[in-house]
């Protein structure tokens, strides 16, 4: 082998190694979110966590793929279904859990609870309980970035239900009109509480409708964390070019009920099962030709090394 060929082989081995390590991280982050939420279910059943709790189990690829593609200086505004977004942003699991337990050590000092996680140090601006209510605020954060010309963007995550609200359409128009650095990420899990997409929207191609405001918009497989990460990086690049917002429709599915209050009577169990075959965690694990780190699948809390080493299970202080 010539020296050149050897160097080339080394570089591609490095790349492959780097890629494997990166995928390992994505997998770890998704498993960590799932374990965290499984713990939430236990604590909810035990009466330790109260109020409205919305799980993102099944949608972890969105949390990890989107948040990983942003920089620490970008602002994030999200919904009440935001445990995964908060953890993927790097908010310590202890403080998220402490928040849900109503403690002063929580990331919102116990004032917010599950739906209102905040960490301004990480530019994580909530945690909004009004469907689409965070969108105008995100546009304002983007306006400030725009006026300062600081190269940062604001990313707003919201559901398919939010797309039916006037606040979404007002914000999309305003952001496009003012060319704001706003990344709109629609987490389309096919349901707004019990109402399926087609009973809520006359036109269910959400990306096409977003594009009508004059922004770049496309739909992505939201169960594929690599696709989500790639798309978000691309969308963020477009936004940073300074010609206005960009819209991503991430097609995903929640495996659990809308909230802990929801008996989940409105959808077919077979439909849920079909989607479970596209579990973002097993999908990535299969692609890595490795089994996920838990011995059993689906994993149960507390039984694996992941649960033990994850800071999610560390006893919350305060």
């Amino acid at each position: 082998m010539t020296a050149r060929k050897r160097a080339h082989a080394r570089r591609s081995a490095d790349r492959a190694g780097g890629r494997a390590a990166h995928r390992q991280e994505l997998l770890r982050d998704m498993v960590r979110i799932r374990r965290f939420e499984e713990l939430c279910v236990e604590l909810y059943s035990a009466g330790e966590i109260r109020g409205f709790v919305h799980l993102c189990i099944g949608e972890e690829a969105v949390s990890v793929g989107v948040l990983r593609a942003l920089t620490q200086d970008d602002a994030v505004v999200t919904t009440y279904r935001e445990h995964g977004h908060a953890l993927a942003r790097g908010i310590p699991a202890e403080t998220v859990l402490a928040e849900m337990l109503g403690r002063i050590t929580g990331c919102s000092r116990g004032r917010g609870g599950s739906m209102h996680l905040f960490d301004t140090g990480r530019r994580f601006y909530g945690g909004h309980g009004i469907v689409a209510g965070g969108l105008p605020v995100a546009a304002g954060l983007a306006l400030a970035d725009n006026l300062r010309d600081d190269g940062h963007l604001a990313c707003c995550l919201f559901g398919d239900g939010a797309f039916a609200e006037g606040e979404f359409h007002e914000t999309a128009n305003l952001a496009a009109l003012w060319e704001l650095p706003l990344l709109l990420v629609c987490e389309n899990n096919l349901y707004a509480m019990g109402t399926p997409l087609a009973r809520e929207h006359a036109q269910i191609d959400l990306a096409a409708r977003a594009a009508s405001y004059g922004m770049v918009a496309w739909a992505v497989d939201g169960m594929d964390v690599l696709a989500v990460e790639r798309a978000t990086r691309r969308a963020a690049e477009i936004v940073r070019e300074g010609h206005g917002p960009c819209f991503l429709e991430l097609r995903t599915y929640r495996f659990r009920a809308h909230s802990m209050y929801d008996p989940d009577l409105y959808r077919d169990k077979a439909e849920v099962e079909r989607w479970r075959h596209r579990d973002p965690i097993t999908t990535l694990a299969r692609r890595m030709h490795a089994r996920p780190c838990a011995r059993r699948w689906p994993p149960t809390t507390g039984s694996s090394s992941w649960a033990r080493t994850s800071d999610a299970t560390a006893a919350p202080s305060g």
Binding site: A75, G106, G126, G127, P136, G140, L174
Partner: protein, 298 residues
């Protein structure tokens, strides 16, 4: 920013000339999207800007109520003190210009119900001029209600006058016989009533609330303790209005000082009618204030 604040100069001319002076980055015309541009003001404030948002009139603020109540007033608390919203929202309020039922509300009393915002109602040229700077300096959201009938008032406030005190009510006329408590667009009518009463030998004190939230209990209660009688004049509807709140506070804090029941002069409980005589009849007028005072001093 707001609808037609730039090229048009503001629906009531309040921002006339500002676009030329400060440019389009700082003076922004917005689309008709009250929720989006009020929310954008909130977001920009969170990011450290000091935005002033104009909502053309109070009726349209209902389309932004979600942002004002669920976000501006709430974020600081529910984030555990992390998210301050130093935003100023200005809007026109009030009736008296034959604008009929959808353009004549006085909802400042509603807004005063909401913890987390400060509610101002300037009644004088000096307050209109000098409340703005301290409102901008306030770390929390401030909502300013400007009565439409006061835009043509003239006066010469000191150009560099001291910033107004946003915590206190003002005694606009001292008196001993009765406390007339009011604010905003009704102050003129109340002062006129006080002059007529003086001619009849009734020496009325006039309290201008200025700030509807937080209410300055000390000034109001102090006045009632001196005069032992209170009449509240308010262009809002009577039921559940700010006049009800003031009457309740007087009952709570100065009940044994009262020589007569608290009187209220409010708008009739109907949508504000268009026809001139009907509108006049629906709103507090000098004659109604005089009648209430006569009942109180009996």
């Amino acid at each position: 920013m707001g609808e037609d604040v730039g090229r048009y100069g503001g629906a009531f001319g309040v921002s006339l000339g500002l676009l030329d002076e400060f440019g389009p980055d700082r003076v922004r015309d917005t689309p008709l999207s009250e929720s989006a541009f009020v929310g954008a003001g909130i977001g920009a404030a969170i990011a450290g800007m000091r935005p002033i948002v104009e909502i053309m009139t109070v009726n349209f603020s209902l389309l932004a109520l979600d942002q004002i109540l669920n976000n501006a007033a709430t974020l600081l608390h529910m984030s555990g003190g992390q998210v301050a919203v130093p935003l100023v929202i200005r809007m026109t309020t009030g009736a008296g210009r034959q604008l009929a039922a959808q353009h004549s509300h006085s909802l400042e009393g509603w807004y005063a119900h909401i913890p987390g915002i400060r509610v101002l109602a300037p009644a004088t040229v000096a307050d209109a001029r000098h409340m703005l700077a301290p409102a901008l300096a306030d770390p929390d959201p401030v909502v300013i209600f400007e009565h439409g009938s006061l835009y043509n008032a003239s006066g010469s406030p000191e150009p560099d006058g001291a910033p107004a005190d946003l915590d206190s009510a003002a005694v606009r006329r001292s008196g001993t016989a009765v406390s007339l408590i009011t604010y905003g667009g009704s102050l003129g009518k109340v002062l006129e009533a006080a002059e007529r009463l003086a001619a009849d030998g009734i020496d009325a004190e006039v309290v201008d609330l200025r700030t509807l939230r937080p209410l300055d209990d000390d000034t109001v209660i102090g006045s009632v303790r001196r005069t032992h009688r209170a009449v509240v004049a308010d262009e809002g509807w009577r039921t559940g209005g700010i006049s009800a709140e003031i009457a309740a506070r007087i009952a709570e804090q100065a009940f044994y000082d009262l020589d007569a029941p608290v009187e209220r002069v409010c708008a009739a409980e109907v949508p504000v009618p268009y026809a001139h005589q009907l509108e006049e009849a629906a709103l507090p007028q000098v004659a109604g204030i005089l009648a209430a005072v006569r009942r109180a001093v009996g």
